[in-house]
Amino acid sequence: MRRLLLGSILPALFIVFWEISSRTGVLTLESLSRPSDILRAGIVGLADGSILVATGQTFETALLGLTLAAFAGIIAGAVLGLSPVLERVVDPTIEALRPIPAVAFIPLALMMFGFGVSMEATIVAYACVWPILIVTISAVKAIEPRLLEVADVLEMTFVERLRKIILPAAFARINVSLRVAAGIALVVAVTVEIVLNPRGLGYSLILAQQSLRVDVMYAQLLWLCVIGYALNVVLLNIGPAPIAVWRAGR
């Protein structure tokens, strides 16, 4: 609590200085709104639902893309982690595709899917799949070989092995990669919306900027900061709980 109080001194002073200097006419920059105006714009946006609708749209695509990436990355990662030969075959391709910035696929994705959820989710998935895939491969490789032998002797099927041995054993590291990917998903979704997809928070941001509603733009930036923080809290604290229950077997 004391820490929180100490930590908020600087931002509070900054906001007060900002408000006073813009009211007294010291600051007259077009790109700077006043904290009081930003707060008002934020409240209006939340009250009329426009911010929440945009948030819903961004989250929808980010989550869809993340889910696609998680399924593809975890399953492919498990298979490649278990088969050194296959990994050697696929690895150069992975390393060739991975460095391409996901947003560079915007023109191509637009041609393939047009505007909307599919195009955006595909780009998000492309950006998110790499950290998940690479971490899963290394996590599966690091699984205690004894456990795989136990699965062999018990004559488990591949799906059983995946569900009961491989994924639970690799869970902790895969979980970290999902958190990293969730951050990437939000960044990429907003970027695609700013660049050209007419939906979500990114589009609201660029719209506010183009209509010179600097206060609205700032309000949305602050909102992004809040939901990014909230997303991390959720992934850290709530996300692992149901998975831990599943992992315990019964």
């Binding site: 456990l147 032998e149 136990v150 062999d152 002797v153 018990l154 004559e155 488990m156 009961k164 077997g249």
Partner: protein, 272 residues
């Protein structure tokens, strides 16, 4: 198949003329180019009777564990053949349970004791409702009732090894392959588990192949002790242990025959 001198073991009629395990000139070498240099096992020919308790001793690094892994089907031999109840062994099977020395690595750390044992039952597609009585019986048999909801990391080495044995029994094996299972345990725990495994093998008439580097353990437990020599491992001696059963930690170990076997084994291994 014509059944001669049939004897009922675990509900099935077994032909006593067919050994439980039959190894014929089993060999293993690593690498293709110069096989002699990396020959691990050579010319292992050995039959194990149904219900027999066979101990294998040998110097460390002699390939005992490798031989056991071949019997489990986890490794394929590069020469010879292994048969289990007349059938060629081509891979791992629930019929042949293997109990690893490093129990802490062979248990699922994220599952408690009950769920670790249940893994074997799940693999056999036994319904959860039917799993309960089986698990309860195994917990009681291995003295694990009070640890049922604990996780492997919370248990002592001896208890963890009990969990692994219980899980292996839950897979309903026809044979137990034990790889120095008590090597890492303290003397008291080791003796307690030796007696439990003896009781278990007698009660269920279970065939057991038991690897150890402890000569006294081998004599105490075994009907026969097979001695493997060094690099590449081959059988250098087979000793019939003529000690009466049930065995007793005090009187059996003081029996002059026990000491004679110990003497014999010790001098054999010293030479190698």
């Amino acid at each position: 198949m014509q059944v001669r001198a049939g004897r009922t073991v675990t509900g099935a009629t077994i032909d006593a003329a067919i050994p439980a395990v039959s190894m014929h000139q089993v060999g293993l070498s690593f690498g293709d180019s110069s096989p002699e240099r990396r020959l691990v096992l050579a010319d292992i020919t050995l039959d194990v009777r149904e219900g027999e308790f066979l101990c294998i001793v040998g110097p460390s690094g002699s390939g005992k564990t490798t031989l056991l892994r071949i019997l489990a089907g986890l490794i394929q031999p590069t020469a010879g053949e292994v048969r289990f109840r007349g059938q060629a062994v081509s891979g791992p099977s629930r019929e042949r349970a293997i109990i690893f020395q490093d129990y802490s690595k062979a248990l699922l750390p994220w599952r408690n004791v009950t769920a670790n044992i249940a893994l074997s039952l799940e693999a056999q597609s036994i319904r959860p409702a039917d799993q309960q009585p089986i698990i309860a019986a195994l917990l009681a048999k291995m003295g694990l009732e009070r640890a049922a909801s604990q996780y492997p990391g919370q248990l002592s080495g001896g208890m963890q090894q009990r969990v692994q044995i219980a899980r292996c029994l839950a897979q309903h094996p026809k044979i137990l392959l034990m790889d120095e299972p008590f090597g890492a345990l303290d003397a008291m725990t080791r003796q307690a588990l030796q007696d439990e495994i003896l009781l278990l093998s007698t009660e269920q008439h279970m065939t057991v192949i038991f690897i150890t580097h402890d000569l006294e353990e081998a004599i105490y437990l075994g009907d026969r002790v097979v001695v493997l020599g060094d690099t590449p491992a081959r059988i250098i001696e087979t000793i019939d242990v003529d000690l009466p059963r049930p065995r007793d930690q005090l009187t059996t170990r003081e029996d002059p025959r026990f000491l004679a076997h110990r003497h014999r084994l010790f001098s054999l291994l010293r030479r190698h």
